[in-house]
Amino acid sequence: MADDFKAARPLEYYRKFLEKDVRPDGRELGEFRPTILNIGCISTAEGSALVKLGNTTVMCGIKAELATPKTEEPSNGYLVPNVELSPLCSPMFRPGPPGEQAQVLSHFVNEVLDRSGCIRKEDLCIQTEKLVWVLYCDILCLDYDGNVADACILSLLAALKSTRLPAVKYNEETEKPETDSAKLEPLHILSNPVSSTFAIFDDRLMFVDPTVKEESLTTGTVTIVTNDNDLCIVQKPGGSPLTADQINTCFERAFSRSKEVLRLIDETLHSIER
């Protein structure tokens, strides 16, 4: 009976639950799905992380390459993020070139890397005008169950934190790089961007971390990226209008989420080192 009701009137079904301040999967409105983090799972990558946010699964692998810098920025390395939503992760996506959503997500990840300044591009320089690191941050969605943006940022941060680059020196005489793969150095991560997504339901109710089902019923979303104790990015692409009070509550929840996530990353990193 409940299943029929859910299939025929999904919106009514959700309303009945939300009246009691609870969601059909048993979560409260401000509750994220259980987050599982696995760091360093791919040994062919310089850094990697797998994130599960409920059923949403995202993997990030970081590959480093050497390149010559641009002439206008001779001492800057490159950070190249890319998000892939392959047909493997959901029947919504078709094979072929990256769709709109994947491109928007890639741009969002790029924006987060740029604006948060978590990695200084100057740190990726080996020899000005000659040799810099390129970090390819490839993020692969394996199972799409909503809120991929938050999972992407979390996997990216965790993968960057686990990245170890070999020591490279530039030989001026031969003009060739000399690699010492025995010496591995971690990246300098200057800050910790964490993203939190809120969904707006029926123009007034708000809840965090929507699943794919919830995403299809919402009337708008807000994505907030915090950078330690600062705000980094706030995105509210149209949808239902909100009051300043509602936005403020979101900010508070985003900062508390940031603390939860950073604790999770630290614990996972510690458990690997041991």
Binding site: I42, T44, G61, P87, P91, R94, D143
Partner: protein, 248 residues
Amino acid sequence: MAGIELLSDQGFRIDGRKPKELRRIQCRLGVFKQADGSAYIEQGNTKVLAAVYGPHETAGGRGKALHDKVLVNCQYSMATFSTGERKRRPRGDRKSKEMTMHLQQTFNAAIMTSLYPRSQIDIYVEVLQSDGGNYCASVNAATLALIDAGIPMKDYVCACSASFVKDCPIVDINYLEESSGGPELIVATLPKSSQIVFLEMNSRLHEDNLSKVLDVAVKGTKDVYQVLDNAVRDHISEVAAFHKLDQS
């Protein structure tokens, strides 16, 4: 050969295996919720994910539909971070296209295609980390995913590779052994009926030795079958126990 000894005088391979020893296989079924069937397999350092969607209506109009059997659509893709050098294109290069075609041919032979006319089954394979034997791991993963999706097949499809070094056939070769220039034989079988559905060999091998290499490869597929079958049975009993709990 390029200075590395693939088989030591004591009869051990580079990674410490005996010539007829498989790499450790770890696998899990039903890893994802969105897909109708999914599986993850690790064969040594090769890690592969497979997802199956369908049977469903053919995508992109009726034109592609086959009137007497199901259309098996495969996509093989390698994550850009799966290899030592970064891959520029995860799919669409010649090698992936060839692999996609091989998978399609393999599973066309194993799935009971005539049961679902005018429909489509999608098999998506993603190599997350590659250390040789990508085709074999992909076939094994896809088999598990098809079983998880409940799609009728004639039998499991199990694949295994083999090579020939120093007058000795070696089974389930890794990347170093694959790239050393020796012969590489890949075979996929239906283990219960001992039928070969796919066989590929490259590089030079004396014909007298072919049967030896083929024998170890086929033996390898039977060993793989044992491991996969155990994994399926474990998974089913787990699911069944969970459902019983649910009902009581």
